[in-house]
Symmetry: C2
C-alpha cells in the first residue's frame, strides 16, 4: 500500500479544485468535511445524497479530493481521519472555496427546473 500523497499549498491548482468539485458526490463529501468540527472517516459517506456509493468508488473520490489538495487524510488505527484543507486552499486562492460551496448550497435550495 503506497503512502498517501498530499500536494503542498503551492502545488494546488484551480483546475484540480474545480475538477474535484465538479462531481456532485465529491462536492457533497467535501462540504460535509469542511463543515464538520472533527475529522470524518471515509465510511461515513457510504450513503450520501440518498444513494449508496460502493467503497471502491468512495476510495477513488477521497483520492481525488486529496490529490486536489482539498482534504488531508491520515490513518488512525483501522480508519482514516479526513479533515479539510480550506485554510491552505484559501491561502492559494482566496475566496474560491466559499464561492463554490455557496453555489452548491444554493443549488440544493433551488434545484434546476425540470
Amino acid at each position: 500500500m503506497r503512502p498517501l500523497f498530499h500536494p503542498t499549498t503551492d502545488q494546488i491548482t484551480v483546475e484540480g479544485i474545480l475538477h474535484a468539485l465538479s462531481d456532485p458526490v465529491r462536492a457533497a463529501i467535501f462540504a460535509e468535511i469542511a463543515g464538520a468540527s472533527c475529522p470524518m472517516t471515509c465510511s461515513a459517506f457510504l450513503t450520501i445524497k440518498d444513494r449508496d456509493i460502493p467503497k471502491s468508488t468512495l476510495s477513488q473520490h477521497f483520492k481525488a479530493l486529496r490529490d486536489a489538495g482539498l482534504i488531508h487524510s491520515e490513518r488512525s488505527g483501522v480508519e482514516m481521519r479526513n479533515t479539510s484543507r480550506c485554510a491552505d486552499v484559501d491561502k492559494r486562492f482566496p475566496g474560491l472555496l466559499p464561492a463554490v460551496l455557496a453555489a452548491h448550497a444554493r443549488q440544493r435550495v433551488m434545484p434546476k427546473r425540470r
Copy 2:
C-alpha cells in the same frame, strides 16, 4: 447541422460550470470572452496559451462552454459571435464566476512550484 442549444438560466448547474472551467483551455477561452467588449469568433482561439488547438477540438470546447451556460453563440454570416453569459450565471450563482476567474488569474501570476 443541428441548432445550437443554450440552457435557460435556471437550467445552469454548478457541476456544469465547474466542469467546463476545470479545463485550462476552456477557462482561458472563457476568460477572454468574458473580458472582451465585443463578441469573439471561435477561430480567434485557434492558438491560445502558446499552443495550437485543432478546430474540431475547439468546436467541442465551445459546445462545452455553451452547454454549461457560460457563453451565448450566434451565427453571423460565415462566422460565430460568442458572448459571455456572466449576468445569467451570476443571477443563478452570485459571486461564483468572479471567484473562479480571479483564481485562474492568480494562478497565471503565481504558477505552481515545479
